[in-house]
Amino acid sequence: MTHPITVFVARKIVTMNPSNPEGTHVAVRDGKVLGVGTLQEVAGWGEYTLDATFADKVLVPGMIEVHAHAMEGLTGLFSYQGYFDRMAPDGRRLPGLRSIDAVLADLRRIDATMADPTEPLLTVGFDPIYFPGERLHKGHLDSVSSTRPIFLLHASSHLGTVNSAMLARHDITRDCLTIGVAKGDDGEPTGELQEMSAMALAQSALVPFMKAATGEECLWGFGRMARQVGVTCVTDLASQVLLNPAALGRWQRIVNDPEFPSRVALYSLPAMPGASADFGSVAAAIKRMQAEEATEKLRFPGVKFVLDGSIQGWTAAMNWPGYYTGSDHGQLLTIPEQLVDWLRPFHDAGINVHMHCNGEATIDVAIDAVEAVLKDVAWLDHRHTVQHSQLTNQAHFRRMKALGMCANLFANHIWYWGDQHYELTVGPERANRMEPCATAKRVGVPFSLHSDANVTPLGPLHLMWCAVNRTTPSGRVLGEQEKITAYDALWAVTQDAAYQMHLDGELGSIECGKYADFAVLDASPLDVAPMAIKDIAVWGTVVGGVAYEAAVTR
């Protein structure tokens, strides 16, 4: 059996392999890289086909997103009403809406396209933090329709706003006992439904959405979105594959399909069906999946714990002096000593643990727990990762360095909520050191950058742009001293992203022996002006030597 060799020629190949940083040709066999260099340097591997598709493009290593959620694949399936423009997996541009009037006009437009006047209308992405003067309520939505039930699921997924027709359909009245049904001075529901317990009262809108979020179309959308933005390995960082065997089968069928344009890493929530769901058996189940279910495209690198809330929701657990304005609803979602017991079976079994920690207090708790398990079992190369890690300070990083931990910094916050952090949540000083990439680099903690898609859009070039420029929508530079270079930013979304999943032997650079995973770009992010990094056009990706062209943006 012959193993054909393809040589891709590009204007430039940025390898992120420090010992062989650039080339123009890359030879690929069996989905892996034989070598990078000049044609002369790679031709010696044997007879090859020259592929000139990328002759005027730049190849960088396929970018890796270590914190996203499969829900991102739903983008565009439900009407999008966020503040910023967004892209759907099929390349459609979904325009941002910059005022409540624009939101209402958009609702009227959608209403007019729906034939059945009683069919519920659900939109996603609305974020009231951008409209501080005016609170959206049922009156606004009643002006759109008095007959069609309407539900705006906010970007945070913690709130919804509905109209009177929706309240009536589900009998949500002044007598409703659910605390999350907000009431006005007149005692009547205002239309705002707070938390899932209240939103779930409006089942006609929410149930189809929840169903879609576990459907096949969503998973396909997740992979296609990766292709659109140059990602060749995308993580679902709160997967339910352990809980739900049907979900595992679905992922396997779809991701292993040659048409599916990305590798996928699943970090399971530590939840298992049945009576024996102690974490020892969860750890054993992950080991089993790693050994028996993993393929070249689908991996199960570890386990995910969620330890607190969010900063912009005032629910991240803070240390003194707490939040800058607003009331502190900070909530640790696990008990410190319990976390140690939770980590232990995974750590002891050699399973990589990623912990969602936004607030400073939560980061303390995560580091303490890793320190405790390490004292008993000296697995030094665990690479346990603090996810989000937004308010990590130098003292945290020094401990993380000493303990062998990694950070995945939520760089997109600088753009999407940077002004709000400066003015409202944590105040100027701490806002300036959020997503502290330069401190992580200085201390020597391996770090990546993430979008937490669908919380913010998938897109590593945008993440790099944030880390390099630290610019907010108001034009503020949030923390000049925490800026990093484009090279360090690209390293973060390739080499160090792979590292924190123990995949850096296979992914993260273009070099002999690793998978032939490339992001195909119009220009090198290392060459363009820093402010232009996010606007570099993405042709698509190559995953295991197979090219996946992005859908044209429109």
């Binding site: 779930a200 339910q240 939840a271 102690d278 410190p336």
Partner: protein, 328 residues
């Protein structure tokens, strides 16, 4: 909308810090369910910790118990679990949610207002030995206090581990920080099951199989004549703290044509307008359940007080009679 209305399934939420005795209470309930089909939802990661001898079979995310009860893990979310429960071929008659050690049980209780359910009450279990120390913990102190304040009924558990003096201090402290909660002292969370699940499903006789935990007193009251709603509310508000459970249907002077449903769990009680009376059934029926109140030594006077208060509910008979007749 047009489906025949099933009576809503009562939901009891059990909260409290890690190790307080929540699961112990759940197991105690399951053991003493007396044929009541209970579904337990455990809103926490990790093991379900149901006593092994109760378990009959495990299937998917549900464990079936020999006595018809089930236990479900909630990793897929409370909404899905609650909707799933309604879809079961034989829905349970009671739902118990055990929340995680740092979560706010009042937040979880909001799911009990979904259609098809009603919130029965929030029980918070506190570890008598450690609760005060936990309440000032740097990381979790706030959550512990929030849990205590959210309780309708507060189980001060593990009282075997403290002295009488400590107990008295603790009671005083609880009265200060959670004045709205009713406190019951327990060992092994062995609260009389009647006090938790109300009267209809459990035998009320006091020759129960476990004298230790089942030392409770019940009052029954019935009256075919309408009672005065205002007076009834005043009576309920004045009940001694040892009354931890109450339920009944009320025939009220104000609206004699419809039944009203009365529920009391700890300090929380409600009177909700129900369906029109079937004429022959127009009778107020009321059950109250009291536990010995360890905080004072007036158990005996409590008994007499409640007897007297209930007796006084009958007094308005002469006034209410003509009104009643008029509307027939």
């Amino acid at each position: 909308m047009s489906e025949p209305a099933q009576p809503p399934i009562p939901v009891t939420v059990i909260g409290g810090y890690l190790g307080a005795g929540k699961t112990t209470l759940v197991n105690h309930l399951l053991r003493n369910a007396n044929g009541l089909r209970i579904a337990v939802l455990v809103n926490d990661f990790g093991a379900l910790q149901i006593d092994a001898d109760l378990i009959e079979a495990a299937d998917g995310d549900t464990i079936s118990l020999a006595n018809g009860c089930i236990c479900c893990s909630l990793a897929g979310g409370l909404v899905e679990a609650m909707l799933g429960i309604l879809d079961r071929p034989q829905p349970p008659e009671w739902v118990v949610i055990e929340t995680s050690g740092v979560s706010d049980p009042v937040a979880a209780a909001q799911y009990a207002h979904l259609p098809g359910f009603r919130l029965d009450g929030v029980i918070v279990v506190a570890d008598a030995e450690t609760v005060r120390r936990r309440s000032i913990d740097r990381h979790v102190g706030r959550h512990v206090l929030q849990q205590l304040r959210g309780a309708d009924l507060l189980l001060l558990n593990k009282t075997d581990l403290i002295t009488t003096d400590q107990r008295n201090d603790l009671r005083q402290w609880l009265a200060d920080i959670a004045p709205d909660s009713r406190v019951v002292e327990t060992v092994g969370a062995r609260l009389p099951v009647a006090a938790l699940l109300g009267g209809s499903h459990v035998a009320f006789d006091r020759q129960s199989h476990d004298e230790h935990f089942d030392a409770h007193r019940t009052w029954s009251f019935s009256d075919a004549h309408a009672i005065d709603g205002g007076r009834f509310r005043a009576t309920v508000a004045a009940l001694p703290a040892s009354i931890v459970r109450g339920k009944g249907v009320l025939h009220l002077v104000e609206q004699p044509e419809v039944a009203h449903v009365f529920q009391l769990v700890g300090a929380r009680w409600s009177i909700v307008r129900g369906s029109p009376w079937v004429p022959a059934d127009r009778v107020t029926r009321l059950v109250l359940i009291g536990l010995p109140d360890h905080s004072d030594h007036s158990d005996h006077s409590d008994v007499e007080a409640v007897d007297r208060m209930l007796q006084e509910l009958h007094v308005d008979r002469e006034r209410s009679d003509p009104l009643d007749e008029e509307l027939v």
